[in-house]
């Protein structure tokens, strides 16, 4: 069954026809070409598809597109709304918070959500905030350092 929905993605409004079984992740990638958000497991276990839905961090593989009608969505492509990198993105580069880069978008969205809710997270809070994201390359140390640095710069 088809559904007509409206999504505001990274500040741009889109009217879309979606199938009942299409996830928000499918629609972002296939219909809007926003491929920065990744398929890692399609069942909410890896965090690679993390986005913001109405300012909440969600796994876009677990949200049906039809459910998101009317929602505001932010993806990694919209993270630096000004066109400049955010402090967080800069810090990921400086601290080697990525290697292969496949998990990076998910980590950035989770870390940015954490910093918005808690601008000065301690180490335990950072770990808790990023516990739902898997990275196979970095061992997380560069990611942890990047979030710490970004939080200091924001102040």
């Amino acid at each position: 069954m088809k559904h007509e929905i409206t999504l505001v993605v990274n500040g741009h409004e889109h009217r879309l026809q979606v199938e009942s079984h299409h996830t928000l992740l499918d629609v972002l990638r296939r219909q809007l070409g926003l491929t920065g958000t990744k398929h890692g497991c399609d069942c909410g276990e890896c965090g690679a598809c993390s986005i913001w839905l109405n300012d909440h961090l969600v796994l876009s593989c677990l949200v049906l597109a039809a459910e998101a009608d009317g929602a505001h969505v932010v993806t990694v492509e919209g993270l630096a709304a000004s066109g400049e990198f955010t402090h967080l993105q800069e810090a990921f580069i400086v601290h080697h918070g990525m290697q292969c880069g496949f998990c990076t978008a998910g980590f950035l969205m989770a870390a940015a959500a954490l910093l918005r809710a808690n601008p000065r997270p301690n180490t335990a809070a950072i770990r808790a905030g990023l516990a739902g994201n898997l990275c196979r390359c970095t061992g997380y140390h560069g990611i942890l350092q990047a979030v710490q640095t970004a939080s200091r710069i924001r102040r």
Binding site: H21, R29, G33, L34, T35, G36, T37, K38, H39, G40, C41, D42, C43, E45, C46, A48, T75, V76, E77, L79, A80, F85, Q89, F92, I93, V94, H96, M98, Q99, C100, G101, F102, C103, T104, A105, L108, I126, R127, L130, A131, N133, L134, C135, R136, C137, T138, G139, Y140, H141, G142, I143, L144
Partner: protein, 778 residues
């Protein structure tokens, strides 16, 4: 030439060249690429039985679905895949040998339709008795998994025992074993086990293939080894390799799991059945677990002797590798494990055997370390037990026996200079090895420290030769289009290899790094390169790049020297400008490329704009067999940890990891540190958590929710990365690789620390709370 200037961007931190794209979500991995509206989606029908005769495979119900273009089964194709031993059918023929084996493959208009059609293919099995244990597979009454093994194509260094499940055995013996045991005051024998694990790169495997009107085929793949895929797939399909172009997409992690061929040939088969339509096959996570390579399970039997002074006298080790249903990807691993199977010690009498054994499990391939993590799990725990039996400190016992430059290795080669001893001292100091055990955080907890040393061989064979091309493309401005183009056949799979290429080329050519572009690998254009299995790219490909730049520089400067009538030695390139120390004349490199250089008589000379370099490690022997036996060099290092164990639950918290490796020369210290820390955490995950659980060949935890990968919660409070730099004689600026083996010593270091904390020794990896708890009860 000023040497300092020539290494301007080397030996210092340099940011990843693609990092900006990665944090913006702009890197295109295979599944992100646009293949247009004609794209067709593929799905695999996997075997649901570990060992069975195929009674019937009926594609008709699937073909009847609207939107299904084709269904291929074993009736339609007959080739076998293999690099050294062609033992894996493209699609199952008369029987299936593991749960997950491709039985049929489907192409349809949408991913959903392809999945639905795959479910409709009717498969009738007649179960056969299976083999689910490497050692049971060697028993004389074990069911045969490959009865036709003698008909498989194989290279000279593969030694199968036809009529058994032994696909390959290699053996080295040196000294006089009897004399070695006679000289020993203490002899200990035991068995160690390593569970199979998944490479689990975050990006699943994927491939897109398209057959063009001229009969050529393009395969876009997430691959670590484009040239190897081209060769293996072309041979299996009976194609001229020149008809098959492999184009590498950005790779979202590999660790060995995207070497060789996993599922890529299936996309090619479908593309050949559907000319001109691009066909896409991207795996679901569950398929990653059941149908792509795993790190092999190992059973290691170790017997070691030492004299009263604490000198090792003899070692006998038998490594039994569970290859699953295909042994091909473990052939060179088995050689490496045999050549390095003593661990990094000088042992006068040694007998080493590696057996690669067929079972009814998912095929295995090397995972980061090429078998070394598994071998050192056994050897480095055994060293602690020998030390205890001799009443020696484990570090002192190791220092007594460490391999040194000039010692004999393998079956008669000589070891080169190594910084192994310094690495050991560094990590011991970092965890305060000689200090009393730290105070635990609660009365029911105990602390302990452990350490381990390691070595890892780079084999000297066709795989480690490399070629590079560096050329200049004419362009209006140098900054605009990155006109210094580098072509290599090796993949950056996330370790940062492309960044190193830019550092090398910009430093040696004398141009800003922003001018340099590394071309994506395309087997139709890129220079041929081996698969890069053993973290040797810095060494092999690095050398080829150095030579290519030297070639280009001498062509450019030769032309200018001729025009200006000066000796070439008076000329240099600095920041993109050619400069003469003799006449003080200068000429922007870009002007030279665009317009040539004017001679005194007004005529214009144009330089060659292409340099090529090749690195071919000198081959000591003529035959495949001799080359398989030869080590180009060893990488060495040490790791130490402090742990705290809960004596009631058996859980282990790693508090501190210290790693040190002899990297020869750290060309990019930040990338080296990133590799060492990331490698340590990947190893921590394998040591404490990971295990592919199976019941009689049926996978039990084929999803990330049931398969514990380390998360950020598991990151120790302290994680340190250090280096020692004893130059590699034939490395670029003395460098050798580090990414592959950065986790090799961690598992035994943790096991040794757990033993010190609890008094119990865990010989089976992973070290689960249950293992520890049970051991504490007895």
């Amino acid at each position: 030439m000023h040497p300092a200037r020539k290494t301007q961007w080397l030996g210092r931190p340099f940011p990843r060249i693609e990092a900006g794209l990665k944090v913006a979500g702009g890197i295109r991995y295979l599944d992100d690429m646009d293949f247009g509206p004609d794209l067709v989606y593929a799905a695999i029908v996997h075997s649901t039985r570990p060992h069975a005769r195929l009674v019937k495979v009926d594609p008709t119900p699937a073909q009847a679905l609207a939107g299904v273009f084709t269904v291929l089964t074993g009736r339609d194709v007959s080739g076998r895949l293999g690099h050294a031993l062609a033992d894996r059918p493209l699609l199952a023929q008369d029987r299936v040998r593991y749960v997950g084996e491709p039985v049929a493959v489907v192409a349809a208009a949408t991913p959903e339709l392809a999945a639905a059609a795959a479910q409709r293919v009717e498969v009738i099995y007649e179960d056969l008795p299976g083999v689910f244990d490497g050692e049971k597979a060697l028993q004389s009454d074990a069911p045969l998994i490959h009865p036709d093994m003698d008909r498989y194509e194989r290279r000279a260094f593969v030694h199968p025992r036809v009529g058994t499940n032994l696909a390959h055995v290699c053996h080295i013996r040196r000294g006089d074993m009897e004399a070695g045991w006679q000289a020993a005051a203490t002899i200990i024998a035991d068995t160690y086990r390593v569970a199979p694990i998944q490479h689990a790169s975050m990006e699943p495997h994927g491939a897109v293939a398209q057959c063009h009107p001229d009969g050529t085929i393009t395969l876009w793949a997430s691959t670590q080894a484009p040239f190897m895929q081209q060769a293996i797939i072309a041979r299996a399909l009976g194609l001229d390799p020149r008809r098959l172009h492999v184009r590498a997409a950005a790779v979202g992690g590999g660790f060995g799991g995207k070497s060789f061929v996993s599922i890529e040939a299936l996309a090619v088969l479908l593309a050949m059945a559907l000319p001109e339509r691009p066909v896409k096959l991207v795996l679901q996570r569950v398929e990653e677990f059941i149908s792509t390579f795993v790190r092999p399970a190992l059973v290691a039997h170790v017997r070691m002797g030492a004299d009263r002074q604490g000198r090792l006298t003899a070692l006998a080790a038998h490594y039994v590798w569970d290859a699953g249903a295909s042994a091909d990807a473990l052939i060179e691993l088995a050689w490496a494990a045999t050549l390095a199977g003593t661990g990094p010690y000088a042992i006068p009498h040694a007998e080493l055997t590696s057996s690669v054994v067929y079972t009814n499990h998912t095929p295995a391939a090397p995972m980061r370390g090429n078998g070394m993590a598994e071998v050192h799990w056994a050897i480095e725990q055994h060293m602690d037990r020998m030390a205890a039996a001799l009443d020696m400190d484990p570090m002192s016992f190791r220092l007594h026996n460490l391999i040194k430059g000039g010692d004999l290795i393998g079956d008669g080669q000589v070891m080169h200079a190594t910084g192994l001893e310094q690495c050991l001292h560094q990590v011991a100091r970092a965890v305060r090895w000689r200090a009393a055990p730290g105070k635990a955080s609660a009365p029911n907890r105990r602390r302990g420290r452990g350490l381990a040393v390691m070595w890892s061989p780079v084999l000297r064979n066709t795989v480690t030769s490399a070629t590079a091309v560096v050329r200049l493309e004419p362009a209006p401005t140098a900054e605009a289009v990155q006109p210094v183009v580098v072509e290599v056949g090796s993949m950056d799979t996330g370790q940062g290899f492309a960044t190193l290429v830019v550092q090398l080329v910009s430093s040696l050519l004398g141009v800003p790094p922003e001018w340099v572009r590394v071309q994506p690998v395309d087997t139709a254009r890129s220079p041929v390169q081996g698969p890069g299995l053993s973290g040797q790219l810095t060494w092999s490909q690095g050398n080829a790049i150095v030579r290519a730049v030297q070639d280009l520089r001498s062509r450019l400067l030769g032309t200018v020297a001729q025009a200006w009538e000066e000796p070439p030695g008076a000329l240099d390139i600095v920041d993109g400008v050619i400069y003469s120390h003799a006449s003080r004349r200068s000429l922007p490199l870009w002007e030279l490329v665009q317009a040539g250089v004017r001679r005194a008589d007004g005529s214009v000379l144009h330089p060659d704009r292409r340099g090529e370099g090749r690195f071919e490690p000198a081959a000591p022997g003529e035959s495949d067999h001799e080359q398989a036996l030869s080590v180009a060099h060893f990488s060495t290092g040490a790791q130490a940890v402090e742990v705290e164990v809960d004596m009631e639950t058996g859980t282990v918290d790693v508090l501190h990891i210290a790693s040190s490796f002899d990297v020869g020369h750290a060309l990019n210290p930040d990338l080296v540190v990133a590799q060492i820390k990331g490698g340590a955490m990947q190893a921590l995950s394998a040591t404490l958590f990971e295990q592919m659980r199976r019941a009689e060949g049926i996978p039990l935890n084929a999803r990330l929710g049931d398969y514990h990968l380390a998360t950020i919660f598991d990151l120790p409070p302290t994680i340190e990365a250090m280096v020692v730099e004893i130059p590699q004689g034939d490395g670029p600026f003395g460098a050798r690789g580090v990414s592959d083996h950065a986790g090799v010593g961690l598992a035994p270091a943790i096991a040794n620390a757990v033993a010190q904390a609890t008094g119990v020794r865990i010989t089976d990896m992973p070290i689960t709370p249950e293992h520890i708890w049970r051991a504490l009860q007895t």
